[in-house]
Symmetry: C2
């Protein structure tokens, strides 16, 4: 239960880094069943700026989204924009990727900015690490994240906004467990597992999730950040995760890939040129209800923007519907069967984009 | 009255060259009040090909548009793709701008393709000329267009499809009048004025339109091709024009320009950064009903595709609404006052894109 409605879990949250889920309007997202969107504090602080969003009446009104919103704190940009970030124990100084200006982020300023932006859920300011960092770096980052989490809790004032903590711990299960235990002791309204989808091998995900999730309280939302491949969502739900966000559905959509119950497909494949059936027969997203696969194929061949839009919407609908189905299966105590059935049909692929935040200012590669 | 409904005039037809009005879905166009869309036979013949459209059940079904459709014949590509076109008295051979393959267009093949595509209105295959061509070239093109118009009429079979002729005549009013008179004598169900918006000075438009329109029958639709600036539409309606098409609203929208009752505006202007009012207060398009000018400004600054979508839709809504208002004024015999009032407020700009067909395969410049 958040300020803008009740959110049933498991839930997938489409990402609107810059106050827009790329190519889509809020009405389409609501009709696709999305209930929570994610936006990014770092990006919004730089552009359009917190003051404008506050004057507009908060982020909900600025982007015209009546559902729930969650803002990531900007901590992930320590990794994703590492070359532009200078880190110390008190916080981070970013050099803007837009105009080179300096921006100071601390736990206190990150919370203050998120209170002005006004999402239903604010995230603590944390420090993830990249894949390839040493265990010492990972432990230092986990320590710093724990200290920052306490400062975020103390700084937070806004009663109509929840604040979630984020645990780290790098790529060692024992460190993951310790970081999660420390976070659990702080009493956040929800707890997130951060620092995943940063380039680590896919087979690490399960053990790291188990170590983190098992140490977080079951009676509060457990949120796995930056994970969005269908098979990973199903797997993580089985391990106790409730919430997810990822740019994957929209990023894949803009690059011509779409989710199908049998696995991910590429619309530019020549076999779709003459395929007059929908992308996924029976799917009730507007792309599938309105257009043929051949039409969407034509849009991509002709480099038409509408193609990016239709596949983005289809992919979000696919994940949202997958979560609805998972929820129903959990309600019927048949989640294991549901998961096994889904995974037996869904052919997984490698090399997928799993990072959490879109590179700013880039046009689709089409 | 066409196969897919009754079309009241004056009417502006949004352009969907490649079977999509760029960035928009049919439902948005219908809700904006669009009743007729235009597609391009040349582009559709090359990609996705007439055979696929025929197998899909025709262009209406392929692009999921339930309103009326008009297909341009491909004649305009003799000008817009001049470097790829080899012309003779029987027709034109195009070298595909996509893959270099050869495509033969004659009056008969252009009509045959349009019958397969299945628009409500097919256009005769004509030969426009570029601005800068000699009067002799213009006269030769007009003669050829007249001969081709007759061949198109003879070739046309499909009873549920109308066919419109196109007059030419270059940039000389006397030649324009003669071409229109010849066309009028052929008895097409509607008549179009072609070969405008090819780079000629804007002050030529009025005299050339007068010469053409005055020689075309008043009891059938008179269609001015490729004109879409608001002030030009109002001016042309005053001269007797009923139908218009132009890429202007969508092309401008993708480049950040939008129509306002006081003239064209550029969303990237710094004064819109903090403007929390809609683009046009009172406008009932989804962009204006849902979002602030500051939000659309932010989308363009952040290079977000949603910005292109919102301005494209706003600009189409603006022209469609302008036509509805003009129709009402005509019904009340107050069109001159309406036109004078509109033009007194609308500040015209120079250097606008007025060409009819989008360059293929280009991503927006954003």
């Amino acid at each position: 239960m958040v300020a803008h409605g009740t959110v049933e879990t498991p839930v997938f949250m489409p990402v609107g880094t810059q106050a827009t889920v790329k190519t889509l309007v809020p009405d389409e997202l609501a009709r696709a069943g999305a209930r929570v969107l994610l936006a990014n504090t770092y990006h919004l602080c730089l552009r359009p700026g917190v003051e404008l969003i506050r004057r507009a009446g908060g982020l909900h009104r600025f982007m015209a989204w009546n559902g729930a919103l969650l803002t990531d704190s900007g901590g992930f940009q320590i990794v994703s924009l590492a070359d532009l970030a200078r880190l110390d124990d008190d916080g981070v100084t970013f050099r803007s990727h837009i105009d080179g200006s300096q921006h100071r982020f601390t736990p206190e300023t990150a919370i203050d900015a998120q209170e002005s932006i006004g999402a239903d859920i604010a995230m603590a300011f944390d420090q993830p690490i990249r894949w390839g960092a040493s265990r010492e770096e990972a432990q230092e980052a986990a320590d710093r994240s724990a200290a920052w989490a306490e400062r975020c809790l103390r700084a937070h004032r806004r009663a109509d906004q929840q604040v979630f903590g984020i645990c780290q711990g790098g790529f060692d299960p024992a460190d993951r467990r310790e970081s999660a235990q420390r976070l659990a002791s702080l009493g956040f309204q929800g707890n997130a597992v951060g620092g995943l989808s940063v380039g680590e091998p896919k087979d690490l995900l399960g053990p790291l999730l188990d170590a983190s999730l098992s140490a977080l309280p079951e009676d509060r939302p457990r949120y796995v950040m930056g994970v969005g491949a269908p098979e990973d969502l199903i797997d993580a739900i089985g391990r106790g995760a409730d919430m997810f966000d990822c740019v994957l559905p929209t990023r894949l959509g803009r690059n011509g890939a779409y989710f199908h119950p049998e696995g991910r497909r590429n619309i530019l494949n020549a076999r779709y040129r003459d395929d007059l059936a929908p992308l996924v027969p029976g799917c009730d997203c507007p792309a599938c209800q309105t257009f043929s696969t051949a039409y969407v194929h034509h849009l991509f061949r002709a480099r038409e923007i509408l193609g990016l839009r239709l596949l983005s919407l289809h992919n979000i609908s696919f994940l949202v519907t997958l979560m609805v189905d998972a929820r129903a299966a959990i309600g019927e105590s048949s989640f294991s069967e549901f998961a096994a059935d889904f995974l037996s049909r869904y052919r997984t692929t490698t090399g997928q984009a799993r990072s959490r935040s879109s590179p700013p200012g880039r046009m689709p590669r089409l």
